[in-house]
Symmetry: C2
Subunit: 244 residues, 2 copies
DNA sequence: GACAAAATTTGACGTTCCGTCATATTATTG
DNA sequence: CAATAATATGACGGAACGTCAAATTTTGTC
């Protein structure tokens, strides 16, 4: 009983030790510098032990990705619980997503790494399933808000069949934007504004296209951004300010 | 003179030989199966010779990416020359992009691989610059159409400052959508429709948000999709039908 | 055409890193 | 305390990258 649970706790704790060591290596020197030997050396266990926890380097990296998605779920849940219009709550998700990615650019990069087929090939089935479950959880939150908007009339009932399309639209827009932002394409040099600004504007325009009330043309969007981010993401904002 | 140009031609031809061998390997067995030794064996030159053309495996893969972007530029240029409203021409870009990615899913995956920092680190400066130039060319085409829309009044002049934001919005939406489509996330299982359909709908809604005339609410969008794709991308459509 | 110099090609080799597995060590149980 | 089970270890095999001295081919000159 006690023995068993102590054992399990030890295993879990070591797993976390490995994960945080890996994350540090990843953040400080990038994917190529993260090697299983280095991880083993850092946590002072042998490589074999690391492989008792993770079936491959890619499996380890995927676990880090799962962690990030869990963090994002927190962000999404906070947004979900915001007391405002459905549109504000939905926008809050996007804002949270943007801020999280600004704060942890490496995390998003890492999640994207796992999407790469060459990497994905080597991740264990089990871990892939875990990631999928987490992603499903995230889309469910987004979907709920869209559905509530239809139910309360903020979104026209004629869009009932578009719930998934709307979720997908915002998802793809944010996902694409943040990936472009990260991928060393010199957007600023190409004449583009900071991505968070463009994204906020575009998301609003997109939702206006669906006539999700209240339209962004009737309100001060800068103020709304400010309001939501200070209400829900004060910590993130502070950290971001410190970073600059 | 002749000698010099013959030499250069030989080099260029061999480079193409290497690239197409690499592409085949990549398409048939994925990134991990693509090795420099295998490429060398396939083209019947030694590895050293391959390295005279490409500074690393990643550099070779990046060259393949550049090829894909060149193909996309063709697509974009066709769209640019379409004789229709500015909105139709801009939409044509998106349609072309979607179709190209449907037809060559591996290509898009490959371009994305190069965006990954772990890969990018190892690409030569020269090749990165080449890719950047090509990407710049693409955004310029998109930007031109938006500008023309403003000039002719299809888009309100108040959006003059948003030209880049509009280009970025469509780009990110399409880019994100197609990446999500490729990344083994079982979208259909999660209840989502085929990505090309959602993307077409969302792009229209987005442009409606900017009130780019004529609004999608006043026309039959299915017909428009049909019209544009058969006018500009008949070849691609045929190939897609054959593939099914 | 012969020979020297320059350019190019070659593949064996050094290195890095992954993942395994026989052996050593520690823990559990009777 | 001894036998057995569970776990940890790191030396090792293998795959792939990228290099470079030597071999080969091409170019240039007389």
């Amino acid at each position: 009983m006690t023995t068993e649970s102590r054992k399990q706790r030890e295993i879990r704790e070591r797993e976390e030790l490995i994960l945080s060591a890996a994350q540090t290596l990843l953040h400080e020197h990038g994917y190529n510098h993260l090697t299983m030997d280095r991880v083993a050396e850092t946590v002072e266990y042998s490589k074999g032990t690391i492989y008792n926890h993770f079936t491959s380097k890619e499996d380890l990296v995927c676990s880090l990705g799962c962690r990030c998605i869990s963090n994002l779920i927190d962000v999404f849940e906070r947004a979900y619980q915001y007391s405002g219009t459905t549109r504000e709550r939905y926008s809050a998700i996007g804002i949270g997503y943007s801020l999280y990615n600004q704060l942890h650019p490496m995390d998003a990069q890492n999640v994207q790494t796992v999407k790469n087929n060459a990497v994905r090939e080597k991740v264990s089935e089990y871990k892939l399933a875990e990631m999928e479950t987490l992603e499903q959880k995230i889309t469910t939150i987004a979907r709920s808000i869209v559905q509530e908007a239809i139910d309360c009339g903020d979104l026209d009932k004629s869009h009932q069949d578009d719930v998934n399309t709307i979720v997908f639209g915002c998802w793809s827009m944010h996902y694409g934007a943040l990936l472009l932002d990260q991928s060393d394409i010199p957007l600023q040099q190409l004449g583009f504004s900071p991505v968070v600004n463009m994204l906020w504007k575009n998301a609003n325009i997109y939702l206006d296209g669906y006539q999700w009330q209240p339209s962004s043309t009737t309100i001060d969007t800068d103020k709304l951004f400010e309001k939501i981010s200070s209400a829900l993401f004060a910590d993130e904002i502070n950290l971001l300010k410190q970073a600059v």
